[in-house]
Structures are given as C-alpha cells and as structure tokens.
C-alpha cells in the first residue's frame, strides 16, 4: 500500500520494542466482541490509475458549467481564476499545514490571513474582519448570534430577498435558544418596509444586497432606523465582485457585513468548500466569532503575526465561547487573497464593470423576447426574469440546448406558487457573446 511506509519487518521490530507479539494486543481496551476479526466488506486497496479511472468516470457523468452556456448564480458564481492562484494554494507549505498555533513556524499562513482580513475589511468598508467561516450562510447565522450577544435582544428581522439558505441556516442555529426569526416573504415586486418591523426587542435587521433577485439596496435609511431603535444592521453580500462597482455596506452604515467569498479565487465545487466572510466594527471585536490573526513582534523585534483574542474561543471559554466554530476555510482564504492581490484596485473595478456590462447587455436582449420580463430596477450581474411558464420546466428544456439558464426561484422558494415563473439569471466575465446568443436563441425556441 503506497501510503504506508512500514515493511513487515519494521512492524515486527516495533512490536518487539513495545513488548507485544501481535498488533491486537494494542487494541486490548476494545471490547472483545466488537473487535473485527478481518477487514470489512469493501473493495481492497487500488492503484493510483485505477482510482483515477473510477472517479473520472463519475466526473464524466456530470455536465461541467464550462461545457455549457452557464448563467447560474444565486449565491455561487462562475468567474475566471488565474492559474497562479491554484498553483499557490497547492504549495505544500500552505496545503499541508495545520492551523497556525505555532507562530514561529507558521508565519506564511498567518501573514496571508492578516492580508486577507485587511482585504475583507477594505471591500466591505468595515474596520475589522475575521479569518473566515464555513460559508456565507453559516456566517450569516453567526452574525445574528453576535447581534443577539451585543444587544441582548431576542429577535432578528430577515429581508425577503435574503438567500433562503442563509435564512434557513439562521433559523436552524437559533431554534433552540430563546430567539425569534422574522422572515419576510420573498417577492421581487415589492420593497420590504423593514424599518417598520424594528421594535425594542430587535437585535438586528438582515438585508442582502444585491439580494436574491439581484436588486441593489441603499442601506442608509435602514441603518438609521435600526440605530434609532438600538438594533444592528447586518448586511449580506453573496457576490463579492459586486463590491468593485457598488458602494460598500460599511459606507452605508452596516454594523456587521457577512457574505460568501467563493466568487473571488474559488471554483464552483458543486457548493463547497466555500468561505464565509465576516466583518464588523472595531468596537464589537471581542464579540466577533471565529479565528482572528493579529500583528505583534518577536523577541528580536521583527514584525510577525499570531492568532489572537483566543479568550473568545472555545479552547478557553468552552460553553461561554462566542461560537462553537473552530475550523475556518484557510485554503479558500488564500485563494481569495491571491486572486484579489492579482486583481488589485484596477483589476477588481474592471472585473466588476465587465460583469455589470455583460449582465446589462443580456438583460436588454432578454427583454426584447416576447413574454419575457426583467423585473429589476437595479442589478449588478444577476437579475430576475418573469417567464410565461414555470421556470423549472424552461431550465430543464434548455439543458438539451447546451444552456444552463439560471436558477428557478421555485427551487429555493417551493412553497410560493406565485414565484414559479421566475428565473434568476447571472452573467459574468466568463460568458461570451456566443453564450448569450445561444441562450437567447434557445429561449426563444422553447418558450
């Protein structure tokens, strides 16, 4: 077995050094009736080529997004990732290191986490950020828990345009503590009056921008309303490339900004692993969940970095910790950090313009089709279509035309038949003119 270094002679010599004859003498504490006498009924070990053939056959049964004209979004976006990014995250020193608990031999990881935290703070317009969480949905849930701790209040108001996975994850995590989650109905044709729902027991209002339907929201009036009532404003961003083009939530008064960082540096990966982003104000830093990296010096005075504020964390605080989360998305942070370093100010702004421009052109062409309406007044790179028949059927019909047309709203909101004809359509820099033409022609044909 290629991964196991011991020869039979090694094993014998080591057993002898230990002072036992057989390996099972080391398993004496396992109840004898439960100790398996032989290997389980599964295939035995296989060579590298055989394993590759096995899994490649499974991969071949899927349609990669890049093999079709892909307009899917709804919280996961297909962007071009420069080759250098994947090379860098496969460096042994990054890929095969553990959490940087020994800073003297972990400065590589620690410094990029510090850079990553700075990038997230800059993009969101916030003062501090943590070193990432599992994904956007779990970061959203953690933001609500944090607002609960900060305000000592027991209710959150979630906008109707919040991605339902984020709302679900939030409802899940708060269901067994004394906390209410007020989910507003999803309806792209109306604007939520969230300010009217804030009362003296509201810990936070959660607003997504661009929201599930692609609409952009000016958060300033809501921030004022929330702050007037002592509540926090949590802003959710599921497409971070948008922040290259639109005003940041921090500039609009958000207290916590969370979101999904996948679209910078990370592949679609069928939904994971992704990286949850979490940023907030300096004054709340000791209530912030998750791992954090901070600057310090070594005994020779050299600038260096360590994991810090660990008194918030479960290693020390145990049941009083700010969160039970231990793992972050380290390698996904590195991909984000390296891609954003390549883009820089100029590149991110241009990438955002490319996305917006592509989406505007697509929206114009779709609007010209009979029976197709674009519902959005505003959008970045994703918008909502109303089709003349159920969107799920249309999407299914378009697969045969080599088009992954978008996400039917009914897949995310199955309980509201009024949304059945709505389709979420995203366009990114990866969509060519030909992709758009194929989509338009095919849609005309199936409608």
């Amino acid at each position: 077995m290629r991964y196991l270094p011991h020869t039979p002679a090694d094993r014998q010599a080591m057993l002898a050094a230990i002072g036992v004859d057989r390996i099972d003498e080391l398993f004496v504490d396992v109840p004898a009736q439960a100790l398996l006498p032989k290997a389980l009924d599964l295939p035995n070990h296989a060579g590298e080529m055989a394993v590759e053939q096995n899994l490649a056959a499974l991969a071949a049964r899927n349609v990669p997004a890049g093999a079709a004209a892909c307009f899917l979004g709804a919280g996961a976006y297909r962007h071009y990732v420069p080759a250098a990014v994947d090379h860098l995250i496969q460096r042994s020193e990054f890929l095969t290191a553990y959490t940087p608990y020994q800073p003297e031999v972990s400065q590589g990881t620690l410094q990029y986490l510090f850079e990553f935290q700075t990038q997230v703070a800059l993009l969101t317009g916030m003062e501090v950020a943590n070193a990432s969480m599992y994904d956007g949905a779990s970061a959203c849930a953690e933001a609500v828990l944090m607002a609960h701790r900060v305000t000592k209040r027991n209710k959150a108001v979630l906008c109707g345009g919040l991605h339902p996975h984020y709302a679900d994850a939030t409802a899940t995590v708060t269901q067994f503590i004394n906390f209410d989650v007020d989910r507003r109905p999803a309806d792209p044709s109306v604007a939520d009056d969230l300010a009217a729902l804030i009362d003296d027991d509201t810990a936070c209002v959660v607003v997504q921008t661009p929201d599930l339907f692609g609409r952009l929201h000016d958060l300033r009036p809501l921030a004022e309303a929330a702050h007037a009532k002592g509540a926090l404003l949590v802003a959710v961003v599921t497409e971070f490339v948008s922040l290259g083009a639109v005003t940041s939530p921090g500039e609009m008064g958000a207290d916590i900004v969370v979101g999904e960082g996948q679209s910078i540096g990370n592949a679609l990966n069928f939904g994971g692993p992704y990286l949850g982003l979490f940023a907030t104000r300096q004054k709340f830093v000791r209530q912030m969940p998750g791992r954090v990296c901070g600057e310090t010096v070594d005994v020779e005075g050299r600038r260096g970095y360590v994991l810090t504020l660990s008194t918030r964390e479960q290693h020390i605080r145990r049941e009083k910790a700010t969160s039970n989360i231990c793992t972050n998305s380290g390698l996904c942070c590195l991909a984000f950090c390296a891609h954003l370093a390549l883009l820089g100010e100029v590149g991110l702004r241009r990438l955002a313009q490319l996305n917006h421009g592509r989406a505007v052109e697509l929206a114009e062409q779709l609007t010209a089709l009979d029976g197709v309406d674009v519902l959005n007044d505003s959008f970045f790179n994703e918008f909502t279509l109303r089709l003349p028949r159920p969107a799920a059927e249309v999407v299914s019909d378009l697969v045969g035309h080599g088009v992954l047309a978008g996400v039917p709203v009914s897949r995310l909101h199955p309980d509201d038949p009024g949304l059945d004809n709505l389709l979420l359509v995203a366009a990114t820099e990866t969509n060519s003119d030909e992709d758009v033409a194929v989509f338009i022609d095919a849609l005309r044909e199936v409608l």
Binding site: G108, F114, T327, G330
Partner: protein, 512 residues
C-alpha cells in the same frame, strides 16, 4: 552547533533584511504601485449603469501588484511554514497524515470542480453518485444506518448531531436540559451544547484517564439529554467501558453523542455502531486526509442511529428510480418532514468528498485497517521509547496518540511550552500542548501511520536529547527557543491587549 544569523555569538545584520534563503517579505499593501495590475482583462463595454445610483465612489484601497510579484510574495510566505510534506507534524488529536496528490488532482476535474450547486439534477448525477458512494463507505466503516453529509467541519458536525438529539427529544415531548461532557473533551463540545440551549455538566476522569463510570451514573437522570464523549479519547485511550456507558446513557433515556475526531485509530478495527453510540461526526480532514490547508476547509459528516435519522439536516441525496435525487426541502413523501433544518448553503463540502473517497478507494478495506493498526503501532512505539525519560500520564497501551505530562520537567525550570519550542529547532513541529486539560502541561503526540520507523527513530532521538538537556538544567536554551526558526518567540500578550487585526496605511489613488 552552527546557527544561521550568528557568528561567534554575534547576530549578523544583513542590509536587505533577508537571511540567505529566509527571505523577508512585506505585506501586499506595502508592495503597491497605483494602477499596476496582475491580470489583463478586456475593455468593458459601455453600457448605461443599472446600479440604481449606488455606484462606488470611494477607492477600495486594494494594492496593485503584477503577477510575478504576487507569485513571489506567496512563495516567500510559504517558506515560513512548517508542513507535513516537509516533516513530522505530531499534533495530537489533529491527525497530520500524508495528503496524497492524486486526491488534489481528482478534486480539480471539471466534472467535480466546475459544477454549479444549482444545476439541474440531471446534469450532476455523477456528483450525487459520488456523495452516495462516500456515504455508503462511511456507513459500512461505522456500522451505522444513516449519515448527514452537509456539515462543514467537526464542530459543525457536533452541532448537527446535538440538534438531531434535541429535535428527537422534543418530538417525543421530553424536554431535557443537561448535556454531560468529560473534562478531557475538546472545547467545541461544551460550546456546541450551549448553542443547542443545554446546560453543561462535567464528568470527571478516573485515575486511568477514562470516564468515571460511577460518577457518570450519578449524573445521569431524566434531565440529561445526552453525553458527548470522544472515543478514542483525547488522552489517546479507548474507553474500555464504552458499552456499559452506552447502556447507562440509554437506560436514562439519553442519547450517546460520540466525538469522532479520533476515528482514525479504529477504522476497520471496530465499528462505532457496535458500541451503542447514537451519532458521531467524522472529520474527513483528519481520518480521510483531505488536507488541513492551514486551518480549513474541513468536512464533518455525521452518522446517525435509526432513532435520530428522521431529524437529519437538509439536503439529502436519495435514490429515485434509476437516478439520484437531491431532497432540498422538508417533505413527508421523502421522509424529511421532521428535519431540524439546514446548516449551511448548498449541499456539503463536495471538494472534500472527492478527496476523501479517493483516499478510501486507494486504501481499500485492507489498507484502511492497516492504516489504523500502523497509527496505533507508531504511537505505542513512541510511547515505549520515551516513557523512561518523559512522564507518561496513563499506562499504555495507547491508541493513535501518546499522552505525556510535564512531571519530568518538575524543578527543571523548563515548561511544556519551552520544550515544544525547542522541538522546532530540532526540525519537528511541536506536539499538541496543554491539551487535554486533565493532566498538567500535557504533551499529546500523534505520529500517524504516515511516518516510517526511521522517521520515528529520529524524532525519538531528538525527544530524548531534549529531555536529557532539560534535566541537565539548560534553562536558558529552552527559554530562548526556538533559536533557528524563521521567527523567534512572538509576543502573544501584546497582540491580545492591543489588537491590530488589519493593515492600515494611506489609500493611494488608483490611476488607470
């Protein structure tokens, strides 16, 4: 002993700040030239903005670097990291085993990596098949009837398991308020129980490092929802009374949550399902070697007993005629009506699933069993070769990790921390220190099955050398360690008292 950067006791100053191959590297923000860019993007088409008046006005403040600068930056940073690819990384309870590169290659196949999670299910049948196959392996290896695949990490799996337990108790109208956690548990256990609304009571260890069964029985009662027990434990020991523990827990109407962080010691040797546990998370990034990646991403599927399976989180992969379906919503027909909900976005850590399945297929039933045996063999070999000089906390045999405490350092002036830092100079990553909390100055050593005998012999020789040096009272050497690492000891107190969590500098105007 030669020391880079030192000459006859004098520190050598270089004009560049570099020290040979140890290259100093500033932050990316300090490499900025406004307008510079590491990608070439086409000219955007001129369209009238649909951004609703929310166009960004202020600069973001991101630095401009070219591609060679970015590559050099991160390569230089990487050289300051210790990694399992470079050397023995015996972090107890963290399981730093070899990460096969085949697994990386396969996770990057476009048929897995370039799948959007919301594609029509007919276009992702191979992906669902992979998840289903991995689930089958996990069920067979654990002897359990059901598994929830979506949790993103170990602590997320704990949350999943405890939420299943709470939902099951509430469904039978049996509100309970206490979760029992041994003092040796990972901190995530009590933190998770608290999020599920439970009060935590600790159960002490006996003098053999195992759960004190009689103390446990006294704590059990109709108010206890569950016990969270790590097996093999964080002391590296198998709970030899686990069947009696499970019986006592079940007699009290409570559930048995097993923290599976250390499942790698027993894969193919014993099935948790045969021991009476009700649910257990599996750290795919430990046992099945999806890389740790400097702290993530992980993956933490949870195996469940029949009684808990109906409450498992969404989504679920289900057989549907000839194909596979993805059940994303609560549904009576699909048996998910009682699900406690959704834990994260989309369907789980697919990239980790591919790697874990590749690891399992490569090892096979025989190789997984051999890997567990070798992991246990290696830990016991280290134990046997060090127990005369270091202080073993509990008598062996151990499982996959050996626990020592700081008894052998008593009166030397050397602490566990000092000893660990001196290991860095010897070329090893330190073991886990000061955990578990049940012994003084814990040193938890987990070599894993990836280490050869030669590698272990070198490690043992260094450990013996350091133990003897500590006993000789060479306090200054230890207090100053590490001497040879890229960085000397860092001031963690300063970092916590005056948190500087981001770079701050002048925002330069980007000139396009």
């Amino acid at each position: 002993m030669a020391k880079p950067g030192m000459n006859n006791g004098q520190t050598i100053e270089t004009s560049s700040g570099h020290r040979g191959l140890d290259l100093a590297e500033p932050l990316i923000f300090e490499l900025d030239a406004p307008g510079r860019c590491g990608v070439d993007l086409p000219e955007p088409s001129q369209v009238s903005s649909r951004l609703g008046g929310l166009e960004r006005q202020a600069p973001i403040g991101l630095p401009g670097l070219s591609e060679p600068q970015v590559v050099r930056h991160f390569v230089r940073l990487s050289r300051n990291n210790f990694a399992i690819d470079a050397g023995l990384y015996p972090l107890g309870s963290c399981t730093m085993k070899h990460n096969p590169r085949l697994n990386e290659k396969l996770a990057r196949l476009p048929g897995f990596a370039d799948l959007h999670p919301m594609q029509p299910v007919e276009t992702v049948q191979g992906a669902l098949e992979l998840i289903d196959t991995l689930a089958d392996w996990l069920l067979t290896l654990t002897g359990m009837p059901a598994v929830a695949m979506s949790p993103a990490a170990g602590a997320h799996g704990e949350l999943c398991g405890l939420m299943c337990i709470r939902a099951a108790l509430e469904a039978r109208g049996d509100a309970r308020e206490v979760v029992l956690v041994p003092t040796s548990a990972h901190g995530t256990n009590p933190a998770t129980a608290a999020i599920c609304g439970y009060r935590i009571e600790e159960i002490p260890a006996d003098d053999r490092g195992r759960v004190d069964l009689s103390a446990l029985k006294e704590k059990l009662g109709p108010h206890v929802a569950a016990i969270m027990l790590t097996n093999p434990s964080t002391c590296g020991l198998f709970e030899n009374q686990i069947v009696e523990i499970a019986q006592a827990v079940h007699d009290a109407g409570a559930y048995f949550y097993c923290d599976g962080a250390n499942f790698n010691a027993i894969v193919g040797k014993v099935r948790p399902g045969d021991l009476g546990i009700d649910c257990m998370h599996l750290n795919l990034h430990k046992t099945f070697s999806t890389p740790h990646g400097g702290g993530g991403p992980g993956s933490g599927p949870v195996v469940l007993a029949e009684a808990l399976a109906p409450f498992a989180p969404l989504p679920m992969v289900r057989r549907d005629g000839d194909g596979l379906a993805l059940v994303e919503q609560k549904s009576e027909a699909e048996g998910t009506a009682a699900s406690f909900g959704r834990l994260k976005g989309f369907h789980g850590q697919m990239g980790m699933f591919v790697r874990a399945l590749a690891f399992m297929l490569s090892h096979g039933a025989d190789g997984l069993r051999q890997a567990s045996e070798d992991a246990v063999l290696n830990a016991n070999y280290v134990l046997a070769r060090l127990q005369d000089l270091l202080s073993l906390s509990f008598p062996g045999p151990c499982m996959h990790e050996a626990l020592f405490d700081d008894g052998f350092l008593k009166d030397t002036g050397v602490s566990t921390l000092d000893f660990a830092k001196a290991m860095i100079d010897e070329g090893f990553h330190p073991m886990t220190m000061y955990f578990p909390l049940v012994v003084s100055g814990a040193m938890l050593i987990e070599p894993t099955e990836s280490e050869s005998k030669d590698s272990l012999d070198q490690f043992i020789a260094s450990m013996r050398h350091l133990a003897e040096r500590a006993r000789r009272g060479d306090v200054d050497y230890f207090a100053g360690a590490p001497h040879l690492a890229p960085y000397r000891r860092l001031d963690e107190t300063r970092a916590a008292r005056h948190p500087v969590l981001r770079w701050r500098g002048d925002v330069k105007e980007a000139a396009e």
